[in-house]
Structure formats: C-alpha cells, structure tokens
C-alpha cells in the first residue's frame, strides 16, 4: 500500500466539482465550506488507490478541459460527456466515472469492468451513512436517520433541500 501525500486542497476541490457534475448534486453540498467528514478527500484517495494516479490525473485533466470551455457548458453536458452516456462501449475513463458516481450514491466501490482484480466493498461506515442515493429518494440511509419521531407521516423536504442540483436554480 502506497502512502502518498494527501491531495492538495485544489485537487480535492476539483474532484468535488467533478463529482457534483457527475452525480447531479450541488457543488456546495458535495464539498461544503467546512467539511469535517471529507468524503471528497477520502473518495479521491480511494479511487487513486484502485486505479492509479495517472488514470485519475487523466480524468481530472479531461474534466478541467470540459469545465473551462468558452462559452461554458453545463454540468449536465460535462457529465454526459465524461460518462459517454450515448456510447454502447464506454471507455475505461467513462467506466471510472461510473464507479465515482457509485461511490457517492452508494458509499461503495463497484469495480469498473477494466479493473479485473477489483473488489466490491463498502468504503467506510461514513461513506455509507452519508451516501447520496437516499437523498434522491428524499429519505435517509437505512440505519441512519437524522430525523425525529413521526417525520414519516409528512411529505419530505424538496429535492433541492436534499442537495440535488435540479437545474431549477437551487444551488449551483
């Protein structure tokens, strides 16, 4: 196991911004101003350990290019491009992006098909309790409710409140 120096703030921020585009969540939700849980850092380092620094660097570089287009393209377009959603045979890089979406949504590493020795695993207990697919259900991870008695009788808060970038101007 390599012990690299932790990634720089700029690197983590860029990874968070890319994750926000890929997942459809608000950037400020993925990487809040104060981030004591720091899943962005954890997931970045985890992914690098799985696929190697150079593959991650290439992906971040592709993201940097896409997000510095002039005129700018939307997060949706960035996501569609990186994930190659229209392709029947997504590249390794697109497969890695699928795995990154899965990390955020499901708290787990689902080895991309090119990672033949990959191991499917839950990344950490915090990765699970903060996994985001439950926000898409406007609910909470099973086993971790931040709500109080009787909440289930009432309709939940909006999808924007749950951190999603619905494209309706909630967050960015």
């Amino acid at each position: 196991m390599t012990t690299n120096a932790p990634p720089s703030e700029a690197t983590v921020q860029a990874f968070a911004d890319m994750s926000a585009a890929l997942t459809g969540f608000q950037s400020s939700f993925i990487r809040p101003f104060l981030d004591p849980v720091n899943l962005s850092g954890t997931f970045y380092e985890f992914a690098v350990a799985q696929v190697g620094q150079s593959m991650m660097d290439a992906l971040m570089s592709a993201f940097a290019t896409l997000s510095s287009q002039s005129p700018p393209i939307s997060p949706q377009q960035i996501a569609d491009s990186l994930l190659e959603v229209t392709s029947a045979t997504p590249s390794n890089q697109a497969q890695l992006c699928q795995a990154i979406v899965s990390m955020w949504y499901l708290g787990s590493w689902y080895p991309p098909p090119f990672q033949t020795d990959g191991l499917q695993q839950v990344i950490s207990s915090q990765a699970y309790t903060k996994s985001l697919v439950w926000n898409l259900a406007q609910a909470h991870p099973m086993g971790f409710s931040p709500f109080t008695f009787g909440y289930w009788s009432q309709a939940p808060a909006s999808l924007e409140t749950f951190g999603v970038n619905t494209g309706n101007g909630g967050g960015q």
Binding site: A21, L22, T23, G24, F25, P75, Q76, I78, A79, D80, L82, L83, V85, P90, C97, Q98, V101, S102, Y105, L106, S108, Y110, L119, Q120, Q121, V122, S124, S125, Y128, T129, V133, W134, L136, A137, Q138, A139, H140, M142, G143, F144, S145, F147, T148, F149, G150, Y151, W152, S153, Q154, A155, P156, L159, V164, N165, T166, G167
Partner: protein, 649 residues
C-alpha cells in the same frame, strides 16, 4: 450425570432468546437460581460492532450485523466473501446467504435448486423438496435481535382452526387466557398501539378485554400507508377464487388498512429512546427504540439470580426414566491461532428448559439419548415445521408516496385474515412495506446501478430505443432516480401454512450407521430439513396474488411483481409460478396439545413425557396462525414461567 448432590441451579435454560430470557427474568424475580446456556457469543456492551458490520456489509441481510461467522464479502478477513463451511463453525446457523447452497455453505442440510420445479405429488397435491427459506441467529439475544417489531395478536379463530374450519389443529388454550398473557407480553416489550384504531378488525374476530390500553400510544402511519388506505377504499375481494379445490366462499371481504401494533417506542419507555424512523428494524435498530431480547436479559441479570454461560452449546439432554438428569454441553473457544477448542461440561438442575429456537430445540431432542431422541412418544418432535411463507408483490405508483422512511412497516391489511375460506385455502395477512423496493429488488442499489451502468435488473430501465436500457449521469440521473424511488412500495403476504407431518427437522445422519453426514465445528450433527407446500397453502398464494393485483389496479399503480422459474424458493401451482420467501417465523417442531400421543408439550410448554422439562418457543405452536409469532411466543413464555415456578414449590 447427577452425583446425588443438590443441584446448584433451580433451572437450566438452553438459549438466551425471547423465551429463555423472559423465563429467566420471571424465575429470577421469584428468587429462583437460573443458569442460561447460550451457544453463541455474549451480548456486546454496545451495538457499535454490530452496526459497523451492518454498515460495511455488501449484502444487508438479516444476519449481516451479527457475529461475522458468515464472512462478509469484502471484509478484511474474507475479501472474496466465501461463505465459511458450517463444518468449521461452533455455532453455524441458517443464513440468507447460505440459501440454496450445498452443505459446505448451508448449515441446514436441505433441498437445493435443481433448475426445475418438482411436480406435485399425485396423491396429496403437495410439492415436496422445496427449500425452507427462514433463517435465525445463535447468539446472546437470539434471532429477535432482528425481528421487525410487529406485535399483532392472533385472532380467535386462529387458535381453533380445526373446530371452526376443519383444518389443521386447535391450540390447547382459550382466547381469554391468551388475552391476559398478551397484555403481559405487550408490557414487557413496550407495544405501541391504540385499541380504538384496531376496532375495525372485530370483523375478523380481534377483540380486546373492555378498557384494555396498550402501554404506549400508536406509531404514526406513513404516507405509503395513507396512500394505500385511500387507494383500497371500497375494494372487496371474494373469499375464494373460482375453482378452488374443496369448495368456495363467495362472501365479499372488505380490504382496508389498519396501523400495526409494534414493539417500538412511541414515547420514552424503559430507559430507551423514541423511534426516529431509522428504517432498519430488520436487521438492527441503531438506537434500541425497538425492543429486543437483550432488554429482558438485562432485567433477568438484575435480579442477581441469573447467570449466563456463553459459548456453551448443549449437545445432549440426559434422561433416566421419566426425568431429565442433566445437560451436557461444550464450552468452545478459539486459541491464539484461531483454532476451535472445546471442553465438555455437564450441569444439573431441578427443571430444564429448552429455548433455543424451533429448529435447534428439535435437533437437541432428537440428538439426545444417543440419537434415539427423547420426549417423543408422539413422534411429533421435528415434525409440522411451518413458516409464514411470504409472497412479495411490488408496484410503482403514479405519484410519489415516499418510501424508505419510517419504521420498516407501520400498517397492514388484516381484514382478510379470517373467514369461511379457511376451510379451503390458507389465510394471510398483508404487510405494507415502508422501504420502497429494498426487499423486492435490492433497491436503491439495483435501480441506481441500472441507470449508472445500463443494466435492467430492476425492470425499470427499459425506456431506451427498442426498450433497451439507458445510461444516465448528472442531474438527469438524479431526477430519474428520484422519480422512480419515490414511487416504489411493496406488499408482503404471509400465509397460515398447513402443519404437515412430512415437513420436518431430522438429524442429518446415515440411517444405517447413525453416523452424521454433516456436523458443525464441534462435531454435532446438523439438522436436515424436508419441506413442501400443500394445495391448501398454495391456494392461498393464488388468492394473495389476485388480491395484490386488485389493490394495485384500484390504486392506479403499475405492478412489477416477478417470479423466476426453477430458482430456489419457487413453485408452480396451477400453471402460475410463485416465488416465496421465509418470514423468519419458524414454528411447529414441538407442538403443544392436550394429548401426549399427538403433541410434544402441554399448554404450558411442559413436556408430556418428561415432567421436569419444558420445551418453549414458537416450536410449540400447533399452527402458525396469522400473526407474527414473537408476541404470542412471549405470551406463552409467561405461562411457562408461572408453571415452572409452581413446579418448584
């Protein structure tokens, strides 16, 4: 192995589960000295380890939090997730991950999938060779660590199925007596409900003594419940479908929803917090708002009269004439290299109680006396194994109903649990699930992965050109999943399965040599299970499928129920495939009755053959009835405790 000296204990109890802990507590309060032999590991000081196991488990099965004897896939100790061979474990038990596996992965030795559904027996119509799909735990606290909390009372006709409908057998108790016993159990557990809300169910014979009040007010219903309740308004279904063998019940029954009494706190109770809707009752409540047997065990230990010996596996009940004279057990441990060690011990007492689960109780009785078996004049030990086989249906509403919130289930349809139709087909209750399609298809994981990777395991990703799956990302993915996940719900139907003599637990031994075919890590023979369904039960499935579809149709919801063919837990009946699950409600293997030639224990769960032995738990149920069994099995344990205390005088 008595040496003539006065035993140190009044009572030895095998098993620290619901019944064992309750009886220990009652005895301890009465000043009796009790030893509990628990096969598995001690109750941990906090549930951190269990919750962490759960969080890290890839397959969040009911067993996933509990001592990792079944090796979590992806865990450090077992990265490839190989299921350990039960032959190497001191306390192997039936697990969900072990279902359908060969004996080197499945503790219960039983049918495996052949890819074909067995044809029905030409004489009886039964489909034999089916897999028994329920699982259990062997640790301090037992299986009900992961009960849902559902605390329904049985119906009056549940316990007189034979007298009333000519099917099955009657219970040797009156409803009035059970009502007093349920009240004790409801207080011990802390059941939240309102008698007023249950009143509509007097149509199925649910009655309470006048003025009865539950210990706590009811748990609020969920939006799913409210939607289903509104959606089924006015719906009626017949008692039987056309061409039901044996007869018909054309009465139209109202379908309506009632809140479910539950053993979870609706106010601070018993030093435990109020439910926060963690939606995790099965497999474990993180905050113990849901009662579990360790609560009662704590009170038992508080008496100062109860000792628990953990990692103590009973393997023989010693009998001389009509008396139990001791229990032999192994105390197991692991040495520094991780090798399993065992030491054989014996203990004597005045009275003995077997409380280690319907399957393990039967196994122990059959093992004893050099595998000749004990307490079995009736030949019913191990027989009449029943479950609530579970039929799961699921659907997508057209408007959001917001599942994945609140306790796993807060309401159900109980209004179809009784009627003339019980002469012809199994009755069932319907549990409305609050957890979306989690049980049904493994959501939200499955649908999320479908749209991320372009698969269609959920049946929801067929909207691409030519019905092909699509891949999505970003906001489009988020909105798509939101649209789908918020409209998911499921209904589980649980059947009053017939007691069948050939549905049984036996020892997995060679009939000629008596040598075990399969043992556990301590050398103890493993249970063999034979299981099947009769037309009475399968006709219940046919009805349930009809009712579920009718409900979804009336609600304007789109049904997505699937059945696979030839997979474990399937059968084909009258041309229709049905997949069944186990509800975890294992009953029947030491049935109670008044006649020692047809039952193993009496109404107090005292052995007919051996008056100083009680065999307790849901194994004593003569029929599985229509309510989830935990409340009733605890109620019976109160009666057993009283009879034991009386016998000790």
């Amino acid at each position: 192995m008595s040496n003539g000296a006065s035993p140190q204990y009044d009572v030895v109890i095998v098993g620290a589960g619901v019944s064992g802990n309750l009886i220990a507590k009652q005895l301890g309060v009465a000043g009796k000295k009790v030893l509990i032999l628990e096969a598995g590991l001690a109750v941990p000081d906090s549930r951190e380890e269990y919750m962490n196991n759960f969080y890290l488990a890839l397959a969040k099965t009911p067993e996933s939090p509990y001592p990792a004897l079944a090796g979590r896939k992806g865990s450090q100790a077992n990265p490839a997730g190989e299921l350990p061979d039960p032959a190497t474990l001191p306390t192997p038990r039936a697990t969900v991950l072990g279902l359908g596996q060969a004996p080197n992965k499945s503790y219960l030795v039983q049918a495996q999938p052949t890819g074909q559904n067995a044809p029905p027996d030409p004489k009886t119509g039964e489909i034999r060779g089916l897999q028994f799909s329920s699982t259990y735990e062997r640790n301090g606290g037992g299986t009900s660590w992961h009960w849902l909390g559902t605390s329904l009372r049985e119906l009056e006709n549940d316990i007189q199925l034979y007298t009333k409908y000519g099917h099955g057998v009657d219970w040797p108790l009156t409803y009035t007596e059970l009502q007093s016993l349920w009240a004790l159990a409801e207080k011990e557990i802390g059941v939240a409900a309102s008698v007023v809300q249950q009143e509509p169910l007097d149509v199925v014979g649910l009655e309470y003594p006048p003025g009865y009040q539950y210990p706590m007010g009811p748990i609020p219903t969920s939006i799913v419940d409210q939607t289903v309740s509104g959606g089924v308004s006015g719906l009626q279904v017949p008692g039987t479908l056309p061409d039901t063998p044996g007869g018909s019940d054309p009465t139209m029954y109202d379908v309506f929803v009632t809140p479910t009494p539950a053993g979870r706190n609706s106010e601070p109770y018993d030093d435990r917090r109020v439910c926060a809707g963690n939606t995790n009752c099965i497999p474990i409540c993180p905050i113990q708002a849901k009662w579990d047997p360790t609560v009662t065990l704590g009170k038992a230990l508080d008496t100062g009269n109860v000792t628990v010996s953990y990692q103590s596996v009973a393997y023989n009940v010693d009998v001389r004439g009509q008396s139990v004279t001791g229990i032999d057990y192994y105390v197991w441990s692991r040495d520094d290299q991780g090798n399993l060690q065992k030491v054989s011990k014996s203990v004597t007492a005045k009275i003995y109680v077997l409380a280690c689960h319907a399957i393990e109780n039967a196994k122990l009785l059959l093992l004893s006396n050099n595998q000749k078996g004990i307490a079995n004049t009736s030949d019913q030990v191990g027989r009449n194994l029943m479950d609530h086989p579970l039929y799961l249906s699921w659907a997508l509403t057209d408007q959001p109903i917001w599942g994945y919130r609140g306790p796993l289930a807060t309401a159900g349809i109980e209004s179809l649990r009784d009627g003339e139709f019980r002469k012809y087909r199994a009755s069932f209750r319907m549990e409305i699930g609050n957890e979306g399609w989690n049980f049904a298809v493994g959501d939200p994981y499955t649908t999320a992965r479908d749209f991320i990777t372009g698969t269609n395991d959920s049946n929801l990703n067929d909207g691409g050109p030519n019905g092909k799956p699509v891949r999505l990302g970003g906001t489009a993915l988020a909105l798509k999943l939101n649209n789908l996940l918020t409209r998911q719900f499921r209904i589980a139907c649980m059947f009053d399965q017939s007691p069948l003599a050939d549905n049984r637990v036996t020892l997995d031994v060679d009939p000629n040599t008596g040598k075990p075919n399969h043992t556990d890590g301590l050398g103890i023979p493993r249970p063999k299970v034979e299981y099947g369904m009769d037309p009475y039960t399968m006709e219940g499935f046919r009805m349930a499928a009809f009712v579920c579809s009718a409900i979804y149709k009336q609600m304007g919801a789109t049904e997505f129920t699937r059945t696979s063919v030839g997979a474990t837990g399937d059968f084909t009946y009258r041309g229709q495939n049905y997949h069944y699950y186990g509800a975890g409600h294992v009953v029947g293997t030491h049935r109670m009755g008044n006649d020692p030639y047809t039952s193993v224990v009496d109404a107090s769960q005292r052995s007919h053959d051996l008056p100083n032995m009680w065999v307790v738990g849901s194994g004593s149920f003569p029929t599985v009835c229509t309510a989830n069994p935990t409340l009733t099995l605890m109620a019976l344990a109160f009666k057993s405790a009283d009879s034991i205390i009386a016998a000790l005088k």
